[in-house]
């Protein structure tokens, strides 16, 4: 069992951070999925009920959460590719650090413009 503080002090390198971020993003996306199923299922009760719910989703706090959700899904997806690459081509373990950094770089390149674009809807 790893204590919370050890996450900050344990020097596992980029692989350790990839592992931690993969877990956290996965749990985050899963929790959102649970809520998302409940809210979308309200559509069965008709237009009035469903549209009344939308004020929640249009709230700025939710919009910021939505930008964070995209970060979680995108990171989990890119890091998932890295996991599959190492699983199916074990010889790539030789440069596993570089793969972790590549995920970080790809994430940054895709996410920053996406986040700016999404945030521009809230600000306008």
């Amino acid at each position: 069992m790893v204590k919370p503080l050890e996450y900050l002090t344990y020097r596992g390198g980029p692989g350790h951070w990839s592992w931690l971020l993969h877990r956290l993003s996965g749990i985050g996306v899963f929790l959102f999925l649970l809520i998302h199923i409940v809210d979308i299922s309200l559509i069965g009760w008709g237009a009035k009920v469903f549209n009344r719910l939308l004020f929640l989703y249009r709230h700025p706090a939710f919009r910021v959460g939505e930008v964070a959700l995209v970060a979680a899904v995108l990171y989990h997806a890119l890091n998932g590719i890295r996991i599959c690459v190492i699983d199916f081509w074990p010889e790539t373990m030789a440069f596993h650090r570089k793969l972790s950094y590549a995920v970080g770089i790809a994430f940054t390149i895709i996410y920053i413009p996406t986040a700016i674009y999404m945030l521009s809807f809230i600000v306008k």
Binding site: I27, I37, G44, F50, R63
Partner: protein, 126 residues
């Protein structure tokens, strides 16, 4: 030195779970990212409302898309959280309780979501 993810299990249910995580992950790469792109970036909650969903669900294509994505995402998520629970909860009783709760919540919401996707009746033109 440990590889990415969990080492591949030898056989049995754990091996199938391992394979499923990779297949569903690959499918979700396109399904979930496509969903985010369409519903949260190209369209977004400013212009999504009941009418939007009704128009989208008028044909079977997006229902099928959403249903496949829902099942892959839920089973992928439940199995992922199972791994985390098993990692951190070692007391036998608590582990059983947490895993059972996870399964119940996953099953109930998978059913709720499937019912919502399959039974939704778009109102006639109004």
């Amino acid at each position: 030195m440990r590889g990415a993810g969990n080492p591949r299990p030898e056989s049995g249910l754990e091996l199938y779970a391992w394979i499923f995580m990779r297949i569903s992950g690959l499918a979700l790469l396109f399904l979930a990212l496509g969903h985010l792109l369409i519903m949260h970036i190209i369209h977004n909650v400013d212009n999504i409302d009941f009418q939007f969903v009704a128009a989208r669900y008028a044909t079977p294509f997006w229902r099928t898309y959403d249903l496949i994505m829902l099942w892959f995402a839920m089973i992928h998520g439940v199995n992922g959280v199972r791994t985390v629970l098993v990692d951190y909860i070692s007391a036998r009783g608590w582990r059983t309780v947490s895993l059972a709760s996870l399964l119940v919540v996953g099953f109930v919401l998978l059913t709720l979501g499937s019912v919502a996707i399959l039974t939704f009746q778009p109102p006639m033109a109004r």
